[in-house]
Amino acid sequence: MAQKTGKCTVMVKSESCKGCSLCIEFCKSGKLVLSDKLNKMGYRYAEPVEDTACTGCMICTSICPDLVIEVYDE
């Protein structure tokens, strides 16, 4: 579920995400939101917003307790 905008691309491994929302709270550009769908564990997972740019600051990956976020350079 890659979504590209701006300089970097954010990918969330939705099946491993527990929906703690820390990445959403600390993301400065509002790139991540909580999905309406549930994963197999029954959690609402974080997912990238399509129209928002990612600056690649890596705050989401540093705060994620479950290492589910991957950031790619263009």
Binding site: C8, T9, S16, K18, G19, C20, S21, L22, E25, F26, M41, Y43, G56, M58, I59, T61, S62, I63, C64, P65, D66, L67, I69, E70, V71, Y72, D73, E74
Partner: protein, 250 residues
Amino acid sequence: MKLKNDWPKYYKKDVVSHYCPGCGHGIVHRIVAELLEEMQVGERAICVNPAGCAVLAYLYFDIDMLESAHGRGTAMATGIKRARPDLFVFTYQGDGDLSAIGTAETIHSANRGEHITVIFINNAVYGMTGGQMAPTTLIGQETTTSPLGRNPALEGYPLHITDLVATFRGVIYAERVSLDGPAGVTRTKKAIRNAFQTQIDGLGYSIVEILSACPTNWKMSPVDSFSWIKNEMTREYTPGVLTDKRGDKK
């Protein structure tokens, strides 16, 4: 497209941890795994696990791990380090393990100045058993065994065990950090790096206390529990370097 955050070498791939959403353990695990790789000690590292939520840490780290009796992590690490001084030995303990049942072992291993590193996760409750009051529970904090809040007249005051061991001559490096946001993650990584370096340089005992979130037992959302650390917990446990004798030893 180039991946900016490589998976840490000493963290097992694609394992979903048993920790609750927003738990501080996951963040500290990743920091430790990254540092083992960056400091090139992973191949000779042995971690001693506690009893507590982190009891299953051996499922996540790809290094040699041992499970100690409840609270006796530093005693076990002492034995490993004395038998094999070439190994890099650290313990990973929670507050119920290190500062409750294992107080004697913690204090005496620190006082002997064993050449080990202790990573101390302080979340102010007994996490695994369901949120009972711990020695580190804050005054007035509600837990399942102090439903009206911790009352010092009945239950005493929060135990500052890192401040206590920092006064010992054998303790070379002691620091307390609060894992309350992205800045806290950076500070935690720096503190653990200093503690690991103390052991690599052969200087002596080092301990890092990490104020870590337990959203499930604090009955808060992960985001609220991070602000609770920042606003409440750091008032009782002041973050900072508690002792640094590395300069005296060199």
